[in-house]
Symmetry: C2
DNA sequence: CTTTTTATGTCAACCGGTTGACATATAGTA
DNA sequence: TACTATATGTCAACCGGTTGACATAAAAAG
């Protein structure tokens, strides 16, 4: 049997209460006793049971994180940053990959609640899933999950502006925007809005294509092909994520387009990974670490009830100019 | 206050024991009572407390997963597959990113034990860290952590053979191997061994370079530069992972080498991501999903004590021929 | 030589759910 | 009618650690 506090007490020749006092730094304890207790814990290999502690304390230090999938580099990096931020502050991460499936998201929410998580960070696509009785602090990254949930995102409008202006300033006459499904109510739609606004400001007709499927890596090449069929004279593309941008570049290159001479391409996300293996890509860099930290801060504010966090937290993006524009 | 079993009992007009019986399908319960109980749970928004359950049951259904970082696509995909396998079988994943730091790994092991995880899946680099008293089932992926820990890996020797033979069969006279730090005691070193064996069988001198640092994405370009300085006539490179292979290709291209005419390159890992954005890369594909599933199976066998799992589980690799060889 | 402060022990309740033992009552069956 | 299977209740112990109340005693301070 695993040693418990009783065993430590016996080994150290003190009472269980004293052991608990040592462990929680409560009341008066002499250094000698502390040493005895720690020695005893060492010799009998005592490991505190956080389950029991959490049950009594009504605090688990668990944070649930729901993302589509860590196999996508953006979410992989985001999760790594969230986990890092959590670890720094003593929280532990329960990881959930929703795979864009609504029922999975729902199951994960329930699971996290059953496990008494102190908070939930969610990057997910399906609205209205959050149980109405969900009392745990929660924050959504880049998505409007429900009207009363806090949101952290990067400045998608600014990003859309920067991308579009980059294409125009590089001389594109007919830049096209490709985005994900607009049925999703996400701040990322502001990227498209910004594109359209900038185009109109420049007296150009915005032209957008929509990728119907959000399934990861299952990028619908049909849409990309259609763009080049419809507009062989396209000279600029603003893709709503880097993978899409790379797919566009590959397809365009296969058609004989020279990048950036015939066609300029801007991506979005700017993960370390893509920047490493595709450094030539011009892209809008999201502040992933800052998003992670801000999300946790928002959660903590909710937990401590001390100050009401901002409903919407928007973080600045950066443009990273490569050789594709 | 969150509703508890007592509240459900009151709302349903039954005893707490009956509610528990309904929840755990124990003893005799009439359908009518079941319905009453479920209805009551619904109306008062009851959510079972898994902490309390786990405490009594001595089973948390938590699996600890320690990887260097999910920001690396290989680990990102591996974690996604592990989480998926766990979810399918009712386990939950506590995620730990060790960042290759020994003390972090140690802390995570301790944390996982305090949280009473049912098992640990670890992909880590530092030997001898596992607490001697670590009783929880555990399995290492691709690394020999301690002499008595079970290991799951892909067939690294076969992978090394396949990669080297591919280069030779494509006419390389002087293929060079680049690998990670050999101080790490990992089955991945078999890749190098296989390379050396195949070279000798073909009466060639093996030539290997070692990347000193394991820090992610912090690939030491110095080593790559040195290879081309030392051997401008190099005509084949077998890199021990895809990112390294891509870096080599980029550098070689910048020097004016034409791939695959002047230089052929084989990578390793074959993640979906790299296959998507760099489909031209010839690489050795690790069976990531199978590794994840096997690891969990090994853990489960240990948990159930029913059958002793194999000490070492080696899964077959596949070569994916692209246009870089 | 009191009065505090420090140090430790005993005991029981509690966190929320589970389970075995035992009691009781109704419905179905031999 | 007697027997059994079904259905539900009461009660207490337990999982492992925490905490408040209270007692006691030695050391430090006045």
């Amino acid at each position: 049997m695993k040693p418990k506090i009783q065993d430590v007490a016996k080994a150290a020749g003190v009472s269980p209460t004293t052991v608990s006092r040592v462990l929680n730094n409560r009341g008066y304890i002499s250094q000698a006793t502390k040493d005895k207790v720690y020695d005893a814990m060492e010799t009998i290999n005592y490991i505190p049971n956080d389950l029991a502690r959490s049950l009594y304390n009504q605090k688990t230090n668990l944070i649930g994180v729901i993302v589509p999938s860590t196999s996508n580099p953006f979410y992989g990096e985001l999760v790594a940053e969230i986990e890092h931020a959590c670890n720094t502050k003593g929280y532990k991460v329960l990881l959930c990959n929703s795979l864009h499936e609504a029922d999975k998201e729902q199951e994960y929410w329930d699971m996290l609640q059953r496990n008494q998580v102190d908070g939930v960070i969610v990057v997910t696509y399906n609205r209205g899933l959050v149980p109405k009785n969900h009392a745990a602090p929660s924050v959504a990254i880049d998505h409007y999950i429900s009207s009363h949930m806090h949101v952290v995102s990067s400045d998608n409008y600014q990003g859309g502006e920067a991308a579009t202006q980059e294409l125009l300033s590089q001389g594109c006459q007919k830049p096209i925007h490709i985005n994900g499904p607009l049925t999703l109510d996400t701040p990322a739609n502001l990227r498209r809005q910004a594109y359209e606004d900038v185009m109109r400001e420049n007296h150009k007709d915005p032209m957008t294509y929509e990728i119907p499927d959000v399934a990861y890596l299952n990028i619908n090449m049909e849409t990309i092909k259609r763009i080049f069929q419809d507009h062989p004279d396209v000279d600029g593309i603003f893709a709503s994520d880097d993978l899409l941008a790379i797919k566009v570049i590959q397809y365009a290159t296969s058609l004989g387009y020279s990048i950036p001479n015939d066609l300029k391409v801007v991506g979005y996300d700017g993960t370390d990974l893509i920047q490493t293996i595709y450094p030539e890509l011009t892209t809008i860099v999201q502040p992933i670490a800052a998003i992670a930290e801000t999300s946790l801060t928002v959660l903590e504010k909710q937990m401590k009830h001390e100050s009401q966090p901002e409903k919407e937290n928007v973080l600045p993006i950066q443009m990273k100019k490569g050789h594709t524009t």
